[in-house]
């Protein structure tokens, strides 16, 4: 077997330029694949992060049917809130939690002297929400709410524009309170204006302190939602499944269940990426096949010689597969080296898409940072390497079979 290995390795370098070109082609293909995955996953993760921080969190706990039907009266009472908190405490050692956010939601009307606009009124805990939702970065005017805030609100940029309101100015909020059909109204003062990056939010968002919203909307101690933020979105499905078992009377959703349109977008985008990758790999496949096939076809006499000397067909088959394996290994190393180096660069400095596009980038209502940071998981790296290996080995099968069959009996001629 050693001799087969030795011949295979040396055969690879018989035409070094051809081998180097093939290895470089496969390496670049693999590097591109890794970068596509890194940028794709990085972009998706940034979208998810932007969406979950302003939306549902990675996992959300709420009253049954709240996701589908909403409703001011579908509240988590004190006992339900406590049960949710207990479960979160139990789960935390397994899945580190960054933030737990209590929120209320209501649809209402905001009016100023310049007009009125339909708004979504969200009651929040200012201290936690400020850090969790990174509102300081998004504040374009005024200050964020604090523990002292009473009847102060933060407006989305679009709401402020529509009502022609600035920081310090007053407006009236109107909404239906819980447990009654009466419309509640309250005079509030604008403390700050946000640009969230979520188009819909910017046009409708009104944030006010949780306690103020509970009082305004007649909610008592009730809240509509407990949103859990983790360090990353990966385990959210698993955590939500655990929550469903532990809190069967409540609705526990992962971000994917809470925002199915975002999941669909990512799926479609991934589908497009996969097609690109397939095209890329088809091009590479032809290069590999060409190299291996040429290498076998031009060595017909040599295989005949080896056949005559007693090298069995299986060993000739293995010899070509070994050549393909060596080529795959070299390409894997090269491609991983180039791809990972590029990934590291793009992970730190990002890919500035604003070089290619002007204006904001948004999809499914999520405006995302035009600088995309590569995010490459070990799974993606291993699957890409495995794909290159499998592809090269599979493409080596036909030439190997040919080599096994090409024990040219007419090596000696026919005289």
């Amino acid at each position: 077997m050693w001799i087969v290995l030795k011949i295979a390795w040396r055969n690879l370098w018989r035409k070094p330029r051809r081998t180097v070109l093939t290895v470089v082609t496969i390496s670049l293909g693999l590097a591109l694949l890794l970068i596509f995955f890194g940028i794709g996953d990085g972009g998706h993760n940034q979208m998810i992060e932007a969406a979950v921080r302003m939306g549902s969190g990675h996992v959300v706990i709420q009253q049954k049917e709240y996701h589908a039907k909403g409703g001011i009266d579908r509240l988590l009472d004190i006992a339900q809130k406590q049960r949710a908190e207990e479960w979160i405490r139990d789960m935390e050692p397994l899945f580190p939690i960054q933030h737990i956010l209590m929120r209320t939601y209501a649809s209402g009307l905001a009016s100023s002297s310049d007009g009125s606009a339909g708004v979504q009124i969200i009651g929040i805990e200012p201290q936690s929400e400020r850090v969790a939702s990174r509102f300081d970065d998004k504040l374009i005017a005024g200050d964020f709410l604090d523990s002292m805030s009473g009847n102060e609100v933060i407006l989305g940029e679009g709401v402020a524009q529509r009502l022609d309101l600035g920081v310090g100015e007053k407006m009236v909020l109107m909404a239906q309170g819980a447990g009654s059909t009466e419309i509640q109204s309250q005079l509030v003062r604008v403390k700050g204006i946000l640009r969230t990056g979520l188009e819909e939010s910017d046009q409708t968002l009104v944030l006010l302190p949780l306690a103020a919203s509970q009082e305004f909307l007649n909610l008592g101690e009730g809240i509509h939602q407990v949103a859990i933020l983790m360090s990353h979105s990966g385990p959210s499905t698993q955590v939500a499944e655990m929550g469903k078992k532990r809190l069967p009377s409540l609705e526990v959703l992962s971000w994917g269940e809470a925002m199915p349109e975002l999941v669909d977008f990512i799926r479609i985008d991934n589908g497009g990426n996969y097609i690109m990758n397939i095209v890329l790999f088809l091009l590479i496949a032809f290069t590999v096949l060409n190299t291996l096939l040429m290498s076998v076809l031009e060595r017909g006499k040599e295989f005949g010689l080896l056949h005559s000397l007693g090298l069995t067909p299986i060993k000739r088959f293995l010899m070509i597969l070994l050549e393909a394996t060596f080529m795959a290994a070299l390409s894997g190393l090269g491609g991983f080296g180039i791809g990972y180096a590029l990934h590291l660069y793009l992970n730190i400095h990002g890919l500035p898409l604003d070089l290619f596009y002007s204006g904001e980038l948004s999809a499914v209502g999520v405006t995302f940072d035009p600088v995309i940071y590569s995010d490459l998981s070990a799974g993606r790296i291993f699957s890409s390497l495995a794909l290159v290996f499998l592809l090269t080995l599979t493409l080596g099968l036909a030439p190997a079979w040919r080599a096994a069959r090409s024990g040219n009996i007419h090596l000696l001629g026919r005289t």
Binding site: L309, G310, L311, I314
Partner: protein, 235 residues
């Protein structure tokens, strides 16, 4: 002669090829046998069936009819794998060209059969260095085929053929691509090895100088054995 070990035996062997609509009879009822230590030439003009005979003799080609034995191995009943194994164990080859594996050096080429046979490293190295010295290639062990002359390449091929001490060495026009002096020196080497190792040689040729050195000449005409005669000078 009768008490000597039988190395190769062909009995009523014919080999036909289809060429378009025509059937070509490359071998026609050939019967012959070789005993241990013989140095035999197969002579005949181009197209007389010399190479087909060599191919069929060692299982590189199958006879259309007739039977072939190497020692007590009956080739007709063996599959491709078994035939490859048999060649590895019993036969050494010297071809006219495409002799050596181009990516291996002289020592590795000479060592190839021993390696394939699984001979231990130390024993292999000793045998190869000794045989390379014997064929006059001491000092050229690390050279690749492209760095050797035609004659030197044939010597490596001879070294490879006999390194594993096969029962039979088969050579197809071994001197065809060599100049007279190199050809003569190669023949002398083969003869010396035949005498010293009692290795059986069967080679095809149409070169009278080569025939002169053979101990026995089998003349082929149109695929048939026309004459099978010992050389008086060696008889």
């Amino acid at each position: 002669m009768g008490s000597k070990e039988m190395i190769l035996r062909l009995q009523d062997v014919s080999r036909m090829y289809e060429q378009g609509q025509e059937t070509v009879r490359a071998l026609d009822n050939v019967t012959l046998s070789l005993e241990k230590g013989e140095f035999v030439a197969i002579a005949g003009p181009s197209g007389s069936g010399k190479t087909t005979l060599l191919n069929v003799a060692v299982g590189l080609d199958r006879p259309t009819q007739g039977k072939v034995w190497i020692r007590d191995h009956y080739l007709n009943s063996m599959n491709t794998h078994a035939l490859a194994r048999l060649r590895l164990e019993e036969v050494g080859f010297i071809f006219q060209s495409y002799n050596l594996v181009p990516v291996l050096n002289a020592e590795e080429n000479a060592e190839l059969i021993l390696l394939l046979r699984g001979v231990p490293r130390q024993k292999r190295k000793t045998a190869v260095l000794q045989i390379l010295e014997e064929v006059g290639l001491a000092g050229l062990e690390k050279r690749r085929p492209s760095e050797l002359s035609g004659g030197q390449q044939q010597r490596v091929a001879v070294a490879r053929a006999i390194a594993a001490e096969p029962a039979l060495v088969l050579a197809d026009e071994p001197t065809a691509n060599l100049d007279s002096e190199t050809a003569l020196s190669l023949l002398k080497l083969m003869e010396k090895l035949n005498q010293e190792h009692a290795t059986t040689f069967l080679f095809s040729t149409h070169d009278p100088r080569v025939m002169k050195r053979a101990h026995r000449i089998i003349h082929l005409v149109d695929g048939r054995v026309d004459r099978d005669e010992p050389q008086p000078s060696h008889g």
